[in-house]
């Protein structure tokens, strides 16, 4: 006899500490007590998000979502809802009680990721079954190229690769110059490179056909017959699936000559990049496709008028393209209803770092950081305090707790000294040293600088060296001035976005965490205990029970002490590896 109801109790990290285990046991007891254990299954689940409102209980098949459930609430759920058939309104999220099945407790709206995890990416018929190629058919048979562009204009879609340039404008520029030359190219920029961002890979792996369809639509709108997908060779699975998808699309007459007997020809080739970050910059990407060294070229001329092999070229990022078939199909107005005034639609973010539910999330523009990090992401694991979130990768900056309620859009993030970038969100907690994190980003930019222009090539390295000095306790107050001085020519006189944006992590952290820099410089102290040179490990004699674990684990034999007596670390000899700290079960090793 199958169960009639399932009662899911969230037991993610946060809920665990929020007494969800107690609720689980209470519900278990109640099913026995009410003699319904054959009809109702009580299930522990992974994190549901919304951890700040835990413990959370969800009742199936009604999909009712209860928050802040206590023992009394558990009894109410059992008696009023499961046995009585009436939902417990007071435990449901405010204002949304009547919306069922609730789609509001979950903040995600999936447009770009609509097929990821739903269809088999290796089977074109499944894509077609989910409205695939309906947009292309519509464009080819019912719309003029200008109408397609108009629809994009109405949608307000902006480039998801970082800069947020209106997609329709790129298409329009190219559309308008095209009759002056014979060829036009559509390029899909799949050279995803921000550390911690992987939405493009995920889309290409989970829904490759959507990119092919969007490129064909772009080709139709801009008068192009040839597209290139520039993808990094480090994405072998995505490349394999793209090739399969292209083969299948050709078989179905959706790619190649005379698409759907419409007379429109469009084909696509794949170009592999060697993984240089700068090749995500569109002029460097063009150079790389042309077989040149991947170095940025001055703009103007912009690729829309003079791009690949000197021809007008539309370059769109993967996530941007993934949304386009849906926009054409449902109309630009539909898309424009989602999001904020200047940033329409949804954006995919890759949540990583000190976050319970790391992963890809797609939310409407205007969702707050708090909703993403705490409601969807489940907050910071281990009960640690949120410190900041880094957005925009090596070109972005940090956003602190006081700005968590800012609705995310392109302009707001820039105003906070960060940027949208490709959508990486790296969450930091109290254990992260801001100088150290900044150094990490700068190291990335310095390493990925192509070396062409002096401000980026030299400025980045100098900044890195200064940060390195500071983390080693050798910084001076003058160094802060030097950081700021170096940033100006980098921002103003670097040739491409990489160099122009490379100082952003430094300026942003100086803006919000200057005190932490000063602690490193003036007090020779790393408040987060990360910068090894500034950290001292000591053993608190009151807590040490003399178990000898630390002295046995110490790789440099610096810890001495008799069994069952407090141990001591020889500071001269200590290499600050932290093994004693991690190994002590009694919290006796302390960081200062």
């Amino acid at each position: 006899m199958p169960y009639k109801n399932f009662c899911l109790v969230c037991s993610g990290n946060q809920c665990e500490s929020g007494k969800s285990d107690e609720i689980y046991r209470e519900l278990k007891r109640l099913v026995m007590d009410r003699r319904v254990s054959q009809e109702v299954q009580i299930v522990k689940t992974g994190c549901f998000g919304f951890c700040s409102k835990g413990p959370i209980v969800k009742v199936l098949p009604d999909e009712t979502f209860y928050v802040e459930v206590d023992a009394e609430g558990a009894r109410a759920i059992m008696d009023e809802h499961i046995l009585g058939g009436k939902e417990v309104q007071r435990l449901m999220l405010k204002g949304e009680e009547h919306k069922k099945p609730s789609r509001f407790y979950q903040k995600q709206v999936r447009i770009a990721l609509r097929n990821c995890g739903v269809i088999n990416p290796g089977e074109i018929s499944e894509y077609i079954g989910r409205d695939g190629y309906a947009a292309l058919s519509m464009a080819l048979f019912e719309m003029t190229p200008l109408e397609v562009i108009e629809e994009l204009k109405k949608s307000g879609l902006r480039g998801r690769g970082g800069a947020g340039f209106p997609t329709w404008q790129k298409w329009k520029f190219t559309h308008d110059v095209k009759d002056k030359t014979d060829e036009v190219f559509i390029v899909c920029n799949a050279d995803e490179g921000d550390p911690g961002a992987y939405m493009d890979r995920s889309i290409l792996e989970g829904d490759p056909q959507s990119i092919l369809e969007a490129m064909a639509i772009a080709g139709y709108a801009c008068g192009s017959r040839m597209g290139y997908i520039y993808i990094r060779a480090e994405y072998p699975l995505a490349i394999e699936r793209l090739y399969t998808a292209m083969d299948q699309a050709r078989e179905h007459g959706l790619l190649g000559k005379n698409i759907l007997d419409s007379g429109f020809d469009f084909d696509i080739e794949i170009r592999l990049g060697a993984g240089a970050f700068v090749c995500g910059e569109e002029t460097a990407l063009i150079a790389s496709i042309e077989g040149e060294r991947g170095m940025p070229r001055p703009r103007p001329p912009f690729p829309a008028t003079r791009g690949l092999w000197g021809k007008p070229t539309v370059i769109n990022n993967v996530e941007t393209l993934a949304s386009i078939p849906k926009i054409i199909l449902r109309g630009g107005d539909w898309f424009a209803k989602i999001g904020t005034e200047k940033s329409k639609g949804t954006k995919v973010f890759a949540l990583t770092g000190k976050i319970s539910n790391s992963g890809l999330v797609e939310v409407p523009m205007g969702t707050t950081l708090r909703e993403i990090i705490f409601d969807i992401g489940g907050g910071i694991p281990g009960g640690k305090a949120f410190k900041a979130v880094q957005t925009g990768g090596p070109s972005g900056g940090v956003i602190t707790a006081e700005h968590l309620d800012t609705p995310i859009d392109y302009e707001n993030l820039v105003a906070l000294g960060s940027m949208m970038g490709s959508g990486g969100m790296i969450v930091m907690d109290e254990d992260d040293c801001i100088v150290d994190v900044t150094k990490f980003y700068l190291d990335f930019s310095v390493d990925e600088s192509c070396g062409k222009c002096a401000p980026c090539r030299i400025g980045g390295r100098k900044m890195y060296n200064i940060l390195d000095k500071i983390t080693k306790g050798q910084g001076t107050l003058e160094d802060i001035q030097h950081l700021k001085a170096l940033a100006v020519p980098m921002q103003k006189a670097s040739l491409c976005g990489l160099g122009q944006a490379a100082p952003n992590p430094v300026l942003s952290t100086l803006r919000y965490f200057e005190a932490e820099y000063l602690a490193h410089i003036e007090d020779k102290r790393c408040p987060a205990g990360v910068c090894k040179a500034l950290v001292t490990y000591t053993i608190n004699p009151d807590l040490c029970i003399g178990c000898t674990v630390c002295s046995r684990k110490c790789p440099n034999n610096c810890i001495t002490g008799k069994r069952k007596k407090p141990h001591v670390i020889d500071q001269e000899c200590c290499i600050k590896c932290g093994i004693c700290y991690e190994g002590c079960k009694f919290g006796a090793v302390e960081i200062a």
Binding site: S449, P455, R457, G459, P489, K492, A493, L495
Partner: protein, 583 residues
Amino acid sequence: MQKIQIKINNIPMEVAPGISVLAAARQAGIHIPTLCAHPDLTPWGACGLCVVKVEGMPKLPRACVTEVSANASYITHDPELNKIRRTIVEMILSNHPNDCLTCGRSGSCELQTLAANFSIREVPFQSNVPELPKDESTLSIVLDPRKCIKCGRCVLVCQELQDVWALEFIGRGDHTEMMPAGGALLSESPCIKCGQCSAHCPVGAIYERDDTKKLLDAILNPELHVAVQIAPAVRVAIGEAFGLPPGTITTGKIYGALRRLGVNAIFDTNFSADLTIMEEGTEFIERLTQNGILPLITSCCPSWVDYMEKYCADMIPHFSTAKSPMMMQGALTKTYYAEKKGIPREKIFSAAIMPCTSKKFEIVRDKDMYASGQQDVDLVLTTRELARLIKQSGIDFLALPDDESADSPIGAYTGAGTIFGATGGVMEAALRTGYFLVTGEEYEKITFEEVRGMEGIRTASLSIKGKELRVAIAHGIANVRDLLNEIRTAREEGKEPPYHFVEVMACRGGCIAGGGQPYNTTDAVRNARIAGMYADDAKSEIRCSHQNPFIEEVYREFLEKPGSHKAHVLLHTHYHPRPLYTR
């Protein structure tokens, strides 16, 4: 074309459309600093110094790569821009050894000038100069990567102007280096030693190998009879090192300076340029009249020879076997001159002053360069080196008389020998004599304006007694490829060759803009030097090689006749295919 209105620093002006903001500013008498842009090269915006403000534009575009647009208003200098530029110079200096006192470019260094102009008294940022070894593998040029500021000019010159691709950007970020691919040394790379990289380098990262001490040592050695020849192009350029305008003829002063340095005999490569015309001209007439392989291609330029052996060995049969004038002069110095003077040839130290870094390599290029039994030319100094030698010897170059002359018998020359230094000059000299060699009569005119000029490829057609003679001239190796392909296509299709005679010089403008000439060579400078050459030619009493009485004498007394066995042994050479990379 319709001019457009722009404003620079709020001053309205009219400029031609399509020029860069940098060029427009220069026209307005405003100098925007640059370290990477160079008039010879496609601007590519590396250094970042030339950023300017444009009204209504949030970003600062680079003046070198930004075309002027109608009605735009540009600000090229203000305190903010100055500060940005100053910080960039400071950044560059912080990655630079800053050992100006011992640097070959001290005094002519573009970075040094900027540092001085920006009043930089100390570099605020931590110095970070990588310990990289010099590449001294060639006899011609030295790469010092520690001093490299990564402006990219050398790479662009090597790839864009010269089509050699010996230099490449290797590594990225602050590990970027300009060097041959695959970690090869320059000597193991396709490098043709033209030295254009050194002529375009803004700092002391690429420079000619300095051999001045060797000449002084030879002069100091009482055992040695030091004979020095000077190349055609030296005389129109060395004056620049002493403040004279480009193109000023200083032949007499150079002779005088060398005499004051203590040189025993002074010859002129112009003489052997005349000799080259006799040998090459005879070879050409032979081929033309006896169905030989045509076109005949000139071989005076050692960089071109090196390029041909590496990149287009299929052209070897087309190459004139005549040695370059310098090598002919060297061979004669150690044979004819030595015998005439009764000096054992091993006691003669034969040196050459050349506009060219490749000549340093040419003297040991092949075993044929030892035709006298000795090394025919022992030492080559570039124009730049001679200028330094003159300065260090306390000689007031400007005060030297202009009327000193070279020594006999291999010093006197004709106007045809002089113009060898300019693109088209060898062709013109050959045409002046060629007609005579074919017909036994003098041609009605001396000058051939149609082969002069600065076009990358020039072609002309003239009639010799009813027979059409087609000639082509290319300079700057990047211009050669199309010409060669045209010849190849005709060859493959069994058609008549498109040309009978082809002149190639590796450097843009010819030897007058060689890799060893004074710095800051631009097309304006090239044109002035070329004009100087033609002016000297026009003044010459004798303007055709075959009329040079000393040429007549040397054949009579020594070489018998053009193309004789003796001439072949001493004045001709062989070519061999060579690999691009020897590593």
